[in-house]
Structure formats: C-alpha cells, structure tokens
C-alpha cells in the first residue's frame, strides 16, 4: 500500500543477492503447506483452550483416546466427500446410507445368515460376510446415485436429498424399525474401545509407520534428484522427518498411556478362569478403528495423488469441459466417485454400529452435515477442483474436538450447535480470504 511496502518488492531480485537468503524464510524452506499449518494451528489452539478451561482434563490420554474413536466414522466419510465436492457434486445421503448399510450388516449377522444359511451365532465367518454385504450395499447404492447424477444428469443435490429420505427408511423397513443387537463380538472390535492393539503392537505399528514415512520421503527426494529437479536442503528434509516421526510416536505414546481400568482387567481374567496377578497393568493402545481410518487415509491419498482416477477427479472438478475434451469419461467418473463414497459410508457404518454394539434406526442421523462440514473446514472448495484428504480428516478432528470440548466444559447442547455452525461458516470465509491473498481461485 505505502511506498515503503512496495519499494523493496519492486527491486529486481538479481540486484540484491545479499537479501536472497533471508527472503526464503525458515518455513518456506521446509516447503510445508501453509493451509495445513493453519489447520494444525487451529487444532492446537482448540486443544489448548479446552485444556485450560477443563483444568487439564481435555488433554489426558483417556480423552485423546475417546476423541480419536469418536472422530473415525465422520473422518472416513469425509475423505470420500472430498472427491464428491472436488467434482462439483454434493452427497446429502451419507447419514441415511450409513443407516441402510448398518441395517444390512446387523440383519446379516443376527438374522439372515443364522436363519437362512444355518450359520450359528458366533460363527467366525459371520462378521466378515456381514461386512462384505455392507460394503456391496454401499458400493451399489452409491453407484446407482452416481448413475442418476452422471448419466441421467439429475443434480446431485436432488438425487442425494431424495436419498436422504429414502435410505434412512429403507433401513427402517429392513429391521422393521427394531434396534438390532448385540452385534457379533469380532464385529464389535471395529468400534473402538472393544478392539485395540495393546501397548506392544502399538509401538511396533508406530515404528513401522515412522520408518515407512521416512523411506517415502527419501525415495521422493531420490526421484527428484534423478530427474534433476531442485530439492529442499537436507536439514529441512530432516526437520520434516523429525516432525512426522515425532507426531507418530507421540500419538502412540499417548494412546499407550491410557491404561485399561483394573476392574475391567480383573473381569477379563475372571472370564478366562484365571487370577489377575498383583500390580498387573495393560494399555489400550491404538484402536482398530483408528487403524482403519489410517488405512483409508493412505489409500484415498494415493488415489488422489498417484492414480489416473485421482487425476481425472481433480481435472474434472477444475474444468469439466476440458476433462471431457481430453477424452475423460466424466459420466463414468461420477459413478465411480459416488460408489467410492458408498463404500466409505459402509466402512463408517461398521465403525459406528460396532461402537454402539447394536444397530438402531437413528444411527448416522445428521452425519451428512458433519461430513460436509469436515471436508469444507478441511479446505475443500465447493467450487470444485480443490481439496485434500488430510485436510478433511483434520477438519473432522477439529469439529469433534470442539464438540466434545464444549460438552466437557458444560456448554448447553443448543449453544454447541450454534458454535459449530458458526465455525463452519467462519472457516469457509477464512479459506476464501486466504485463496484471494495467495491468488488461487
């Protein structure tokens, strides 16, 4: 604006080589995504504020464990919503579809397979056949909605608004409106607290994950050097590696610090007909549901960044006509994107119903809004073409932290929703301002 602001920028860069080093700041040398830093910053701020307000009860291993398992279901679906919104569509039916998928899986393991196929309750194949049926249900319904959108050109808003009414009540008819449970014990292990790795395996997983991350960074660097592209300085690479390894192992350490209450342990020993040794302790470690989320995140990120499908999804979102003229079958692409969403909804249905240990008709109610909000808070642009998987997961985490933080502080339920709604709108505003500054669209 003023002269003092513009003059330094106006000087040609070549004329002031001495200034060049400080111009590339510490952060820019790390080549980290500014948006990612902003979201991580917001998340840390939320955590710190609630930790102060709750006298340190927010950042305890127990609460972090709970936060993780509460986030999983919405976060898994949010990764799929990224693809949907990137291709300029919307899916309002995910909460209802979750209910249908959950109903199918609950009926499979408690009624249909035992009654029709003669598999007794508790049979080892029950949970897996049920999950398979749920995944197929999600994929087929998703593909059907995608076909209506892509081939019959009905707007996605209308197709999935209809779906929101239809699938919730299809779920109702499948179960005749009853709550179905208890679900199979193996199935319940995907819910969170009923299925965890334990301390030792959590550490092994953490170390393997950290090693994989470091190797991936090294191979990406080698690849760049191999093609003669510029790479960031070694120290910057090392800092990024240290942050990633620290985050992974720190997360494992926190989850391992949450110990199983001794009365639960005593009950387990009693069930096995054994006596609990004096002073015996055990940790929960990483829940299977969180492992599932990590697996989904990795697969979806690889699809987004490394496959033709992902490239076409983003190209179509950026310019549908250009994608079409480049020979991309955008109609079939729409079917695929909605089908992926359906599969992810079914995976979330496993986690959500397993966490509740039964299927009830209102499962997943309003999840469509949480999922869309998570994707949008995570930086997915409704105008299409822009969005990241990690952003959507962070978005889900920020929303869940806000919600459970406010619950712990004792904020009234209506006010909680008012705050979450405000945050959603504010997040999009900040995103718009950020993009305008950076000059993107």
């Amino acid at each position: 604006m003023s002269d003092t602001d513009t003059v330094p920028n106006a000087a040609p860069p070549g004329q002031r080589p001495a200034d060049k080093a400080p111009a590339r700041s510490f952060l820019s040398q790390l080549e980290l995504d500014l948006r990612l830093l902003g979201m991580v910053g917001a998340f840390i701020a939320v955590c710190v504020v609630f930790n102060l307000l709750t006298d340190g009860r927010f950042l305890t291993p127990r609460n972090i464990f709970n936060l993780s398992i509460q986030t999983v279901s919405v976060a898994i679906m949010a990764t799929g919503m990224v693809f949907i919104i990137v291709t300029r569509h919307i899916d309002l039916s995910v909460g209802a579809l979750l209910a249908t998928a959950s109903a199918v899986m609950a009926m499979m393991q408690t009624r249909w397979l035992p009654d029709m196929m003669g598999l007794p309750l508790g049979h080892a194949a029950l949970p897996w056949l049920s999950i398979l049926a749920g995944l197929i249900t999600g994929a087929v319904i998703g593909a059907f909605q995608g076909w209506l959108v892509g081939y019959l050109t009905i707007p996605a808003f209308i197709v999935t608004l209809g779906g929101l009414l239809i699938w919730r009540n299809v779920g109702w008819y499948i179960t005749s409106g009853q709550t179905i449970g208890p679900l199979d014990e193996t199935f319940q292990a995907f819910g969170g607290i009923n299925g965890t790795l334990g301390a030792q395996w959590s550490w092994i997983f953490g170390l393997v994950a950290a090693a994989a991350a470091v190797l991936a960074l090294i191979s990406a660097r080698r690849n760049k050097i191999g093609h003669g592209f510029p790479v960031k300085p070694v120290w910057a690479e090392a800092v990024v590696m240290a942050i990633i390894v620290g985050a992974i192992l720190g997360f494992v350490a926190i989850l391992n610090a949450y110990e199983i209450p001794s009365r639960v342990l005593a009950r387990d020993f009693a069930a096995r007909g054994a006596e609990m040794p004096e002073g015996f302790t055990a940790s929960y470690g990483i829940p299977y549901s969180v492992l599932l989320l990590i697996a989904v995140a990795v697969v979806m990120t690889v699809i987004a960044r490394k496959t033709r499908l992902g490239r076409y999804i983003f190209a179509t979102g950026g310019n549908p006509d250009a994608a079409e003229l480049s020979g991309i079958n955008t109609r079939l692409l729409t079917v695929k994107v909605f089908s992926i969403m359906g599969i992810l909804v079914a995976i979330s249905a496993v986690v959500a119903s397993a966490r509740l240990t039964n299927h009830s008709n209102d499962i997943g109610t309003l999840d469509e809004l949480r999922v869309i909000a998570a994707a949008v808070i995570g930086g997915t642009a409704l105008s299409g073409g822009i969005g990241t998987i990690y952003g959507a997961i962070l978005g889900a985490l920020i929303m869940q932290s806000l919600q459970s933080g406010m619950a712990m502080v004792g904020v009234d339920a209506p006010l909680q929703n008012i705050v979450v709604g405000t945050v959603l709108v504010a997040a999009v505003l900040i995103d718009i301002i950020y993009r305008r500054r950076v000059g993107g669209k």
Binding site: N223, K224, G226, H227, G228, F229, V302, K306, T307, R308, G310, R311, Y312, F314, A315, T316, G317, G318, N319, D321, A322, A323, E324, L325, S326, G327, I328, G385, I386, G439, G440, K441
Partner: protein
C-alpha cells in the same frame, strides 16, 4: 469451369491422398442448422483456414472433427478410410489433436498434468509417473517456449501466452497428424503470435495437416494454403490464397458471395 480451375490450382496434384475429407456434414441445435451440408478436405503439409463471422459454424464444424459434437449426417474420411468419431477419445485415436479457443485446461492442475491429461505416463505399478511427466514437459517446453518455468504451479497462475504454450504442447506432443487450431493467437501479444506462426510453419513442413480458425484475414493469408469461408452454417467457397485478394475474402465473409466465381 471448376474443373480447369481446380486442376490449375491444385497443390495436391502430385498424387497425394487427402488426410481428411468432410463430406456433406450437417448438424442442428434445436432447429438452428449450425452446419448445413459442408464439405472440406485437407492434405498433408497443408494449412486450411476457416473464416466467417461469429456463429457462422466454423467452431461447430471443427468440433465435429475433434469429437466434441456428433454430426447429424455426413461422412468423415481419414486417409481415405471412413472414420467414426463419437468422442474426443476417438479423434485422438485418429491422431487428430485440437487446440481449443478456450484452451480447455484444468486450471487447478500444473502444466505437466494438463499436458498429459487423459494420456498419463504411468509407472510399472500403474501409478502416474509425475517426475517423468514433468521431465517430458520441461523438454518440450524448452523447444516451444524457452521462458516457461512455472512447472509445478497450477496453470491458473500462468500468463495467457504460457497457458497457450501448454495447450499447444499438449496438441503437438503426441505425434498429431491432423491439428485443429481454434483462434490460437486470440489471447496473445505480438511476440507470442509470431512464435505461434513459426510453429505452424514448422509443423506444416513436418507434413501435418492443419485446420486454422481465425478472424484475422491478414494472418490467414500469410499462414494458409487455402481458405474456406462459412456463413450461416454453409460453405461459401474454398480458395487458394494466391488466387484471391484480402478484399475478395472479406466480401465472401460479409456478403456470402464468391466475387471471383460470380465474375467468371
């Protein structure tokens, strides 16, 4: 009359077969006959210009050849063989490449992703090989536009000329035989326009057949071997540029009449 004239004017009398033959192409949109019985041909190493007012049907005709539209009737022959072009993918299979007026770039992707869009280089595992694509993009850009450096930024961050280079690179990278250029210089400055003109001459020398659409009659007289003028969906005439003046062309565009033929 026509016989003798074509015989004299025919640059293709040396027995070359036409690369493209469009025969009696028709297409209508909601009652409007956008292209009305147009026949055109194109020979290897030849530039044919398409002229006419906005809405004359040039872009529509060319989009039928590039697979964006499907003709209601008529026939397309490529190298003498009847061709079925129902989609841009089909057109690419016949080595027809198009540079659209709108450039048809995905603004959110970088230059390499746009260049290889729909034809990605993949690794043995089936993943997109970004590093290889970027290296190839560097290689071709060094030839087309040596000032091009913003390889890893989305193309929305590029200037008009740089975006044009990406669109051109995409068309010429994949060994096109037939190139369609719809207003390739509309958004360009003087220097960049000259670069495109040089490129057209070079590609022509390599034996490509080029359909060129432009409003700039002078430019067309320089670059083209023949020009075809369209008005209201119909072909007014096709002339060799040395047989007509710029004024003749203009009156064909405006009046829809071929003064030379009327005089004869």
């Amino acid at each position: 009359m026509t016989m003798t004239e074509t015989a004299k004017a025919d640059p293709r009398a040396n027995g070359a077969k036409p690369l493209v033959e469009l025969k009696d192409i028709r297409i209508a949109f909601g009652g409007v006959q956008a292209v009305d019985g147009v026949s055109l041909d194109l020979y290897p190493g030849e530039v044919v210009g398409l002229l006419g007012h906005n809405g004359a049907g040039k872009s529509t005709l060319i989009k039928i050849l590039s697979g964006a539209y499907k003709a209601d009737s008529g026939e397309i022959r490529i190298e003498g063989q009847k061709a079925t072009i129902n989609s841009p993918r089909d057109a690419r299979r016949y080595n027809i490449e198009t540079i659209y007026q709108t450039l048809a770039l995905a603004d959110n992707l970088d230059a390499a992703s746009n260049l290889f869009l729909g034809r990605e280089i993949t690794t043995r595992a089936g993943f997109v090989d970004d590093a290889k694509q970027e290296a190839e993009t560097r290689r071709i850009m060094a030839r087309l536009n040596p000032n091009f450096r913003k390889l890893s930024e989305p193309v929305s961050a590029l200037s008009g000329g740089q975006r044009q280079s990406v669109a051109i690179a995409r068309a010429v990278y994949f060994n096109a035989k037939i190139l369609i250029m719809d207003e390739p210089t509309a958004a360009l400055g003087v220097h960049e326009t000259a670069m495109v003109a040089d490129l057209i001459k070079e590609l022509k020398a390599q034996g490509l057949g080029i359909f060129l659409i432009s409003h700039d009659t002078r430019e067309m007289m320089d670059l083209c071997d023949r020009v075809s003028v369209m008005k209201n969906g119909q072909l007014i005439g096709t002339e060799r540029v040395e047989d007509v003046t710029e004024d003749d062309i203009l009156s064909m565009i405006i009046m829809g009449k071929n003064p030379k033929r009327d005089a004869a």
